[in-house]
Amino acid sequence: MEHFGYLFAAYSIIFAVIFIYVMFLRRRQAALDAELARLEARLGALAEKSGAGNSAPPADSPPQL
């Protein structure tokens, strides 16, 4: 099988790049989740400060891990 190396390299690179991109997406997702947690904390502080009447509680339950 001549030139097998090139065939192997081409497909390996394709899958490697896709894999790396998915990793990148997951990292972004983690950052977004952290930001979300931070904002929920701020929201909680805001709710305490203004009293129960002024801020609507989040429409969904607290984050599930």
Partner: protein, 261 residues
């Protein structure tokens, strides 16, 4: 505080963590599995089903991923342009997010097309790169992708930047047909030293066509899946930015001296 003010100061409910994993989580998983199934089918056909091409040997099998990558790269570019037009017309941030997701994913496939093309050219023609009409056009497309992503990466996410990116996406997409025509004319009158067989592809065996079609479906599904994930992420980010702003405003209105950020 009167009701109107109170409503305005109340931040939107935050998306729960499960929501941030992509709207319609189930839809995303189904699509992911479908993509995986198509991929496996395509790989089987590429490596076991389709016969080896006579002239080029097994290296020719790169073709079955190389061409679908090109197709996706161009389709994604079209998506970026359409999303840009909708953004400029309707002003809704959702279209800008779609355009950005399309550009990022499209860039991936454009890069893969060029890399696979190079790895195919080297054993067949002896050079790592050749300026034939298809590779040249895709390279120019790649440069335009770079420009678009440079705009987005190098600046803060203001609506002004989004508008500029939309304009660039539209204009670049309109330019692509002229690029194709001019490059083809360029290479026809003065053909490259190495004339590739990419025109017409010369697919003798119907099994080759079938394999190509399945690979095309698999690659498109893969793009769609990645696009969905990235798009959902950007939507979440947009919503978070909005909510963060509202919280700051509410804090300020409540007399809170906490600094922003």
């Amino acid at each position: 505080m009167d009701t109107a003010t109170r409503d305005y100061l109340t931040p939107d409910p935050l998306p729960s963590v499960s929501q941030t994993r992509g709207k319609g989580n189930n839809r995303g998983s189904w699509f992911g599995f479908a993509t995986l199934a198509l991929m496996i089918a395509a790989l089987f056909m590429i490596f076991d089903y389709v016969p080896t091409e006579i002239d080029e040997g097994i290296v020719q099998r790169i073709f079955y991923f190389h061409v679908p990558c090109a197709w996706v790269a161009f389709a994604a570019f079209g998506l970026v342009a359409v999303a840009g037009m909708l953004y400029l017309w309707l002003g809704d941030q959702i279209w800008d997010d779609l355009g950005y997701a399309g550009a990022e994913t499209g860039m991936i496939f454009c890069t893969l097309m060029l890399v696979s093309g190079s790895l195919w050219a080297r054993p067949i023609w002896g050079v790592w790169w050749t300026w034939d009409s298809r590779l040249t056009t895709t390279f120019i497309l790649w440069l335009m992708y770079c420009g678009y992503l440079m705009i987005r990466a190098s600046a803060d996410d203001t609506p002004q930047i989004a508008r500029f990116a939309a304009v660039v996406g539209i204009v670049a997409a309109l330019d692509v047909p002229i690029v194709i025509v001019s490059v083809r004319l360029w290479r026809t009158i003065h053909p490259a030293v190495l004339v590739t067989k990419q025109g017409g592809h010369g697919l003798q065996d119907p099994r080759m066509i079938a394999t190509l079609l399945v690979s095309l479906a698999a690659m498109t599904a893969l793009w769609g899946w990645l696009l969905m994930i990235r798009f959902a992420q950007l939507r979440t980010r947009t919503r978070l930015n909005t909510v963060a702003m509202q919280i700051e405003f509410a804090h300020a209105a409540a007399g809170d001296q906490r600094p922003i950020g």
